[in-house]
Symmetry: C2
Subunit: 191 residues, 2 copies
DNA sequence: ACCTATCTATACCGGTGTGTATACTTGCGG
DNA sequence: CCGCAAGTATACACACCGGTATAGATAGGT
């Protein structure tokens, strides 16, 4: 049984494989990276990779889940540190700005994965949908907490701004997209 | 010399190939479609495909350029039919709404292509950048024409809303994303 | 009548990619 | 001390994919 099918802690080799897969999948695309290369780069045999993860599909899912977990923790930290719900909303865009400048020249890993694996039955679509639903809930919660009118519609608007900032940063030629999205949200939110 | 390297009219077989490639690339992804399949589906030999287009890369570029041309014509038509610059801006989101409901369950073909072919030197990145730059210019022109303050910043905000609506429609679970983006723009633009 | 462009039919080459099989080693816990 | 989990090393099966080669058919223009 592979190590991902129940949340056991990763073996050292499996951790290295997951780390390498994370950077390679993101930088070169999922289809552009073979299991052979991942194994070599992690200093591991292909057999070890398959013993730990079972298949490429499972490794892809593990890669996305790991990235998702980190991203959620990063945002949550920034939001809870904010002095109130309104500042919390703006903090999501500031977090995005920081995240992008740190390690995000290639857009959203979820969106990219869905682009490469179009079959809607493929597990990556579930992971991606969960991530977007999570962010939408974050906005809903904050908007409700701030007692704005029409919270659901407002949360959708904030989500659209967020996703738009990600795309326009990587291919729209807007290196300040997150900051612009933040200011747009600031203009949309009553004081 | 291939038929795309100078704008000669396409031969009947080449046109069929381009049509088939258009739907298949979009629906199954570029990496998920082989030249063999495209040829077969178009009722054509692989040799014909290579005689007309030269390579898969060139066929991909032709596919994106064709789609881009149609999209620009569609938007331009709606914008020029609008009674003024403010209505023109809103018309871009209404056009997106129509376009998405008609044939767009899988997001932006440019974004998807860039996700599949990460090398920034690959020609698809140039095509994608041109398309986004064009849309940004559309917004700049309209915003300037409407004599709003800070036109460049406002145009960027409108572009972010637009791209966000595309992503959240296909992955974010917002079937009304374009309409929401339109209403958001409506709220942002002084009357 | 001939030439050229277009297209069919089919076979093939080299490379790559996922996944499996086999045999051996190392280290730790009961 | 033994057994099991984790890992190395290597080879291989099988499929697919981009691209090429060869040979022939068809039709329109000069």
């Amino acid at each position: 049984m592979s190590v991902v099918e129940q949340g056991r802690p990763l073996t050292p080799a499996a951790q290295r494989v997951l780390d390498v897969a994370g950077t390679l999948f993101y930088e070169r695309g999922i289809g552009g990276v073979g299991m052979e290369l991942i194994a070599a780069e992690a200093g591991v045999t292909k057999k070890t990779v398959y013993d730990r993860f079972g298949s490429k599909e499972a490794l892809i899912v593990a890669y996305l889940r790991t990235r998702d977990r980190r991203w959620r923790a990063f945002v949550t930290e920034r939001v809870t540190a904010a002095p109130g719900p309104r500042a919390g909303i703006l903090a999501t865009y500031e977090a995005l700005d920081t995240w992008q400048r740190r390690h995000n020249a290639r857009g959203c890993s979820m969106v990219n994965a869905c682009a490469e694996l179009p079959d809607p039955e493929h597990p990556v679509h579930r992971v991606a949908a969960e991530e977007k639903a999570w962010l939408r809930d974050v906005y809903r919660r904050l908007v409700t907490e701030a007692r704005y009118d029409d919270p659901e519609s407002l949360a959708d608007r904030l989500l659209i701004l967020h996703e738009g900032a990600i795309v326009t940063y990587s291919i729209g030629g807007l290196p300040d997209s997150a900051r612009i999205a933040r200011d747009t949200a600031d203009a949309l939110l009553p004081r």
